[in-house]
Symmetry: C2
Subunit: 172 residues, 2 copies
DNA sequence: ATTTTATGTCAGCCTTGTTGACATATCTCA
DNA sequence: TGAGATATGTCAACAAGGCTGACATAAAAT
C-alpha cells in the first residue's frame, strides 16, 4: 500500500502529506519508550505494596509540598474517589501526611514524610538514569530540544499550566 | 532542600550530578505528553465500545499483517488470557480476522479486516497530527533527534527488536 | 509414540479508573 | 447572622484490563 504513494519530496505537497501519512515510527517509539520509562519504578513500588497510582501521587506531593486535594485532582485528572483510595494508603503507611489548611481550614495540605521523600527520590533517580542516559550520545542541545518537543505534544490549553508546574516547582 | 546543593556548573562534578539530580522536567513532561498522546484515540474508541487494549492490538495487527499470537504477546508483554479477551472482541466485531497458519497449522495468523484497517488508520492519523504538529516550530532535524532519543530510552535488549518492528514493518 | 509447542478457555483475583449519592466542616456573601 | 457555595470524605457498585493457575486440544518435532 505505501507503494502507491509518490516520492515525498515535492514541496507543494509537504503539508498535505503530513496529514495523510501516519508517523508510525514516532507512534510506536513513543509507546515502547513510555512503557520502559514507567517499568523501572514498578519493581520497587511492588516491594512497598504500592502501584503506579501511588507513585504519581507521591511524586507530585514530593515536588509540591503543601499541594491541596483539588490541585492534585487537577494534575492527575482522576476522580476524588480514585485519588482518595491511594492517598489513604499513602497516609496510613506514613509516606504522606495531610495537614489542615491555615488560611482555609477546609483544605488539606499534603506533604511527604521522611520515608515518603526517600521513596520519591529513589524512584525519580531510577527514571532519571534512563531518560538522561538516553541523551548520552546525542548532541548537547538534545535535552532542550526533547523537552520543548514534549511540551508541544501536550494540549495547548494545558501547556502553560504544565510549564509552571514543571519549571516553577520547588522554587516557589 | 535544593538550596543545599552548590552551584551546578563545575565541570568536574558533571557526571556525578547527573546521577544525583533527578530530571524532574523530563519526567513530568514525559508523563503529561504521553497522557495527551493516548487521549486522542480514546474518544473514538469509545464509540466502538473499544478501549486502549483493543487499540494496541488493532494497531500492531494493522502494521504487521499475518502476525501470530506469540509475536503479538511478545510485543505487548501481556498474558495470553488478557490478549484473548480483547482479541476475541475484535474478531467478533469483525475488525480482525484469524486464519490458520499455512506452514504451521497450530498458529493463528492475524489480519485486520476492511473496517479494522479504516479504524486503525483513523486513530494513527489522529496521533500523527499531534506528534508531527509538535515538530512544527522546531528545527528540521528535530524529528530524527526525537526518534533516536526515544529509541535510546527503550531497554537496550529490546532496541533491535523495536527497530526492526518500527522501521522494517510494512515492507517485509 | 511421546513430548513439546501454539493456542484457547474457565475461574477468580487485583488495581485503578468510573458514576451517583450523601455527609461534614468551613468559608463567603447578601 | 443565615443561606448557599466550596473542599473534602465516604459508601456502594461497576468496568477495564492487568494477573495467576489449571486444564484442553491439535499439530509439530523428536
Amino acid at each position: 500500500m505505501p507503494d502507491a504513494i509518490p516520492a515525498v519530496h515535492s514541496p507543494t505537497l509537504g503539508k498535505d502529506l503530513l496529514d495523510e501519512l501516519p508517523a508510525y515510527d514516532l507512534i510506536e517509539l513513543f509507546f515502547f519508550a513510555y512503557r520502559d520509562f514507567v517499568s523501572d519504578p514498578d519493581r520497587i513500588l511492588d516491594e512497598y505494596g504500592f502501584g503506579r497510582a501511588h507513585h504519581r501521587v507521591l511524586h507530585f506531593v514530593d515536588r509540591q509540598p503543601g499541594l491541596t486535594i483539588a490541585e492534585l485532582l487537577d494534575i492527575l485528572r482522576i476522580t476524588k474517589q480514585s485519588l482518595n483510595r491511594v492517598l489513604k494508603e499513602l497516609i496510613e503507611k506514613d509516606f504522606v501526611e495531610s495537614r489542615m489548611g491555615t488560611s482555609d481550614r477546609r483544605q488539606r495540605l499534603l506533604y511527604v514524610t521522611g520515608q515518603g521523600h526517600d521513596l520519591a527520590l529513589k524512584l525519580a533517580k531510577l527514571q532519571t538514569r534512563r531518560i538522561l542516559g538516553a541523551l548520552a550520545d546525542l548532541e548537547p542541545e538534545a535535552k532542550e530540544l526533547v523537552s520543548s518537543y514534549l511540551l508541544r505534544v501536550i494540549d495547548p490549553d494545558d501547556r502553560e499550566h504544565v510549564e509552571r508546574l514543571v519549571f516553577g516547582a520547588g522554587k516557589t
